[in-house]
């Protein structure tokens, strides 16, 4: 059972700890989101442009580069948040005993776990912000509405961070993260309307992709990148919120089971 008394704003101190560590190597942390979109846009723009025609999406006709640019932001949110609460959190928990030390202070396990998930979302949103700036300068994301995607990135980051933490709660060893990455993250990466519109998929696969949080994050990001805000925006926001809440709850449950003995 999870008691309400286990939650307080104290969790921000754990979040802050991760900010301090992140800042320490901020140059490296900034490099990837700044250059990644540039590389992809270059590769897809120059390399694929002549092989793939325009893509019709939400009533508009987009060049292929325009189509995938927002998806790059969304997938990077997924990788950032998911890796943070799987490999990085696992290392802190298991190898560095960071959580053990925290649990000898007035912090509760719930606060530590929530802080880790919130941090993963923050890190993902920071990466998204940098990518958006680059993509705006290149003309692939609308200014200023495209900045709304930072909020979507945080929301998506919560969802991916939460499910990552859930896996951290259930895997016995760090090597087993290969399994959720192969069985869940990779198909989600490919079939969430990232590289091609899901409308090209058979009906059942379209329905299935609706269950992927990445699908909703791609949708949200792409719409505001085009300077539009319509379609199933509310549904996507609600889905990401519920997905986050469910997996925050599950990760709290399994982490308690794993750590409190």
């Amino acid at each position: 059972m999870i008691a309400a008394s286990s939650f307080s704003w104290r969790f921000l101190r754990v979040w802050q700890r991760n900010v301090i560590v992140y800042r320490r190597i901020w140059k490296v942390n900034f490099l990837v989101p700044l250059f990644e979109p540039a590389f992809y846009i270059l590769a897809f723009g120059l390399g694929f442009r002549h092989m793939i025609g325009d893509v019709s999406y939400a009533g508009a006709t987009l060049s292929y580069t325009e189509f995938i640019a927002p998806a790059l932001v969304a997938t990077s949110v997924m990788w950032n948040a998911f890796f943070e609460t799987t490999y990085s959190s696992f290392v802190r928990m298991y190898y560095q005993k960071t959580f053990d030390a925290m649990l000898a202070t007035p912090l509760s396990l719930e606060e530590i776990i929530v802080a880790e998930i919130a941090w993963s979302a923050t890190k993902a949103a920071a990466a998204a912000l940098l990518m958006l700036v680059v993509l705006m300068l290149l003309g692939y994301v609308a200014f200023p509405l495209g900045f709304l995607s930072v909020i979507w990135a945080f929301l998506g980051g919560l969802a991916f961070g939460a499910i990552g933490m859930y896996f951290t709660g259930i895997v016995p060893t760090i090597d087993l993260f290969n399994l959720p990455i192969f069985l869940f993250i990779t198909p989600m990466f490919l079939f969430s309307g990232t590289f091609f519109p899901v409308s090209g998929l058979p009906g059942w696969a379209q329905d299935l992709s609706l269950a992927f949080p990445l699908y909703h994050l791609v949708e949200l990001t792409r719409l505001v990148s085009l300077g539009r805000n319509e379609g199933m925006v509310l549904f996507s926001i609600a889905y990401l919120l519920l997905f986050s809440l469910l997996f925050i709850f599950l990760s709290l449950h399994y982490m308690r089971k794993k750590l409190i003995k």
Partner: protein, 302 residues
Amino acid sequence: MMTPIIDAVDLLKRYDHFTAVDGVSFHVNPGECYGFLGPNGAGKTTIIRMIYGFSPVTSGSLRVFGLDLREQWREIRARIGVCQQHNALDPDLSVEENLLVFAGYFLMDSGEARARTEELLDFFALAGKRNAKVMELSGGLARRLTVARALINRPDLVILDEPTTGLDPQSRHQLWDKLQELRRSGITLLLTTHYMEEASRLCNRLMIIDHGKILVEGSPEELVVQHAGDSVVEVEGVDESLKQFLLREKVRHDITDRRIVIYANNSVSEQIRSRFCTSRCTFRTAGLEDVFLHLTGRELRE
């Protein structure tokens, strides 16, 4: 009467098929240094983890500062400093940051955190290493930082789980000096250790615990007098007539494969010296280690 810092009554901790702590009762008085001695797996760390509210108590009562652990765990933890068995220092942070960030977990404001950090860096002679990474510290320095970090919140109770295990003699003595200074300042210490010398030097009272049960409790001096006597005679080889003599005279002793260890008063040891010590006999004063080995047995544990 003053409220004890720790008051445990019939404390029990059971895992699925294993009782780690089996009905333990003890109390720790304010300002005292109380020791837990026991072989590995005796239940020392389990008790400690219950005291700072990490492991839930299966049954029995455990009050810390007179407070209830289930309801008031945050208040209790705010007044405890824990130095865990394995240096759980944060390797992603520098020496100084380890202290500052930890202060944050106690919601200390930044001015106070900085002042306290400086104070502790000075006290533990770590100021020159403030920007070092934790990974770069020697064993002794890392342990000093761990103890420093446990003091960041000016705790009333400091729990030290094997604080000097793995340290070289210099570092060990240095840490003992610091711990004695803490004791003089009135902080209550709870200590687990495998070093009898450490326990004799630092502890006012201690328990010897094995298989989750307290075997004996008392001051180090009392325990030596009660359970080992004045002196110890170790006789090489197991001699039948000596065995008969010891049984007849009801002298406490342990027999191992190759020798007999006799816990004797002065007159008995004199008789042994004259009658049985034709060769290899060692006479020495009894210590806490003799009490420990006599009570927990001399065979190796798995």
